[in-house]
Point group: C2
Chain length 387, copies 2
DNA sequence: CTGAAAGCGCTTACAG
DNA sequence: CTGAAAGCGCTTACAG
């Protein structure tokens, strides 16, 4: 008996009703527990609409009306009900309400490569964690909660992972089964970046990966690049594929063989040597004088590897990243990046998801904010003077 | 009619049933929608247990038994039901289930200073976003989803914010109303860091702020500090108050007047000049030769300001941070930090929350992992040689 | 103005 | 082995 008692002394930390006579809760509800049970013990530990009704001497219907401002209730009655409800600490159950409307006021953010994120250190997950934080906040401002989930199609996912009113899926893969499942279940969703194989079929926020890539390629070109290489991730999402396509078109327009390499996002900085080996070991005339890495961690690794090999950055080789990681701002040299402004994207996504959840139309087209070019030392052959 | 049509061409992106004759969904459920409605239109857009029962020619009870492996169902019957259920894409409603058990399989992470986080850039929210990411993952591994919420006591919070099975509250304030509310509602929760005014009353993961502070102060002392100053945040949480207390005791044990300054966490790097002004403008004999900032952003700002004033770091002044921000690893000089290992803390918190949600006892005491001292240039008077 | 009844989609004794 | 009934906590026509 001792162990459980110790545990249950923590206030309501466990589900056991507290009945020991000597126990007097410090933060008890102001009013005694609603009667109906001989000794004031509540069944579920939480007052229901019936408890309020009983205490107010009315029917549950009237309580519901009063508390929701629906129907017609005499003023005094309504006020009395409200007072009693707050006295006994009544809060309507979101679950019971949800059963009616099949809406919980819950949104879900599906971070597609969640499990492949090998670390939650900020250099690893900059973009996604910024989206997650901003999306949670935006959701709350609109009266929704946000859950973060991985892959709701995996066997054994919590049923709650399927209980959101609408979903935001970031960077879906080609023919992403998550989208297939959501659409089969007729669950509303919006994606950040299209499913590359099903463009236009679903609501999606256009990231214009190609456009953003061109922004960077133009910058590299102005910075002196004649021959550009691109390092993408291996996930088959719109960002990787769209950027790749843009580089290929750019190269072909200049009569050059495209230099592209895809390496796993999760390997981060480690890919540095492999990238340099790949581009610098073959035909010297095919060597790039600029490497554009889609992820900031890849760019950091490549910068490191280049310098270790005696390749000067930016003098011999320009390096840039398509999405900034923190260390790109402080590395030596600092690395030019695109700031994708994930906070803004998150807000757009939440707005769309809320609209869908409420059955309202979505104002299309949905477009991600234009990325901001953050020019740093790695692409500045004339020395950068700090202001 | 045109606008809405355009919108609804997106697959189920809106809640309107698709009835235009020409429309043929690409990813329709394999089997036709369950009958019961003349034209195969489903009411809620989602098959229910009744639909399965009807299609299988059995009662809902039997479907429930078969799908949950409860009761006794003939093997063939069970198999047929399972087949049909998956054919029509049936998934049990987490909401309806939740009504029974008052459990949704949902956890909530309350990041106490969520709104005061002024940015989701990684240098601002390192610690909390690492917790959030790791907690979401840990929760999923245990069959729960995790929502990120701010303050569930604010008026107008989504009811869903109150629907979690258990809560994790990070860095509660003194007499935190969130804890009061949760305990009044008898909702189980665990805190990361105790409520300083109600220590021991609730389940909480002990961060040993004082212990961690002493680790750093010992290091500073070994690094040559004679007179240490502490910069805390202004939130009245255990981390700030416990560290403050530790510095005071440390100073008094040495017969020194404690040098402590509290500045808002959200002001980040901006506090640099104020800190230097405060400690360096008065009596020269009261000047610190080491400044310990609890947040990495404060430390970054102080380092900057010191150097601008011609104070050399580490020669004249040692600087350290109680929780690392990314830039501390790459600034000039790099700054010594404590890595609080939030991923580990998150896992411990999730385990406890799951136990509470399931009515199981929590293995106390709950202790945060020991922080790791990451010694860098800002506290290394002998030059650091990279390996 | 108020309340009895039905129903949201499940589960769970309980009776056949 | 199977199913009718009651109930989880609400809301919503509908009848008084």
């Amino acid at each position: 008996m001792l162990a459980p008692k110790t545990i249950c002394e923590k206030r309501f930390g466990c589900n056991v009703s507290i009945t020991e006579p000597g126990f007097s809760p410090v933060f008890a509800p102001i009013a005694p527990a609603p009667s109906g049970y001989p000794d004031g013990v509540q069944r579920s530990g939480r007052p229901t609409i019936k408890d309020v009704a009983r205490a107010a001497g009315v029917s549950p219907t009237t309580v519901s009306h009063a508390l929701n401002g629906k129907g017609v209730v005499r003023r005094e009655t309504a006020e009395r009900i409200e007072r009693i409800a707050s006295e006994i600490g009544y809060r309507p159950s979101a679950i019971a309400r949800g059963l009616q409307s099949s809406r919980l006021g819950l949104l879900a953010l599906v971070i597609r490569p969640f499990h492949s994120l090998d670390t939650f250190l900020p250099e690893g997950v900059d973009y996604f964690l910024r989206i997650a934080g901003a999306a949670s906040l935006s959701a709350m401002e609109r009266g929704y909660s946000m859950m973060l989930i991985d892959d709701p199609t995996r066997p054994g996912v919590p049923p709650s992972a399927l209980a959101a009113d609408a979903y935001i899926v970031t960077e879906p893969f080609e023919n992403d089964p998550v989208l297939t499942m959501l659409s089969e279940q007729r669950i509303p969703f919006v994606t950040v970046g299209a499913d590359p194989a099903r463009r236009g079929l679903f609501h999606s926020i256009d990231e214009s990966a190609g456009q953003q890539a061109r922004t960077m390629m133009n910058h590299l070109s102005e910075a002196g690049a004649r021959r550009m290489a691109l390092v993408t991730g291996t996930d088959r999402n719109d960002w990787n594929l769209g950027s790749r396509q843009a580089l290929i078109e750019w190269s072909e327009a200049r009569g050059q063989k495209p230099l592209v390499l895809a390496l796993p996002e999760a390997e981060g900085e480690q890919v540095g040597d492999r990238v340099i080996d790949h581009f610098f070991s073959g035909d010297p005339t095919d060597r790039p004088d600029a490497i554009f890495c889609l992820t900031g961690r890849h760019a950091a690794g490549v910068t490191d590897a280049a310098i270790r090999r005696g390749i000067r950055v930016p003098e011999d080789l320009l390096i840039a990243a398509g999405s900034g990681a923190m260390q790109n701002r402080t590395s030596k040299p600092t690395v030019t990046t695109l700031d994708l402004r994930p906070e803004q994207t998150a807000q757009i996504a939440v707005e769309a998801a809320v609209a869908l959840a409420e059955g309202r139309p979505v104002a299309e087209p949905l477009t991600a904010p234009e990325a901001t070019l953050e020019i740093r030392e790695s692409t500045s052959r004339a020395p950068v003077h700090a202001p």
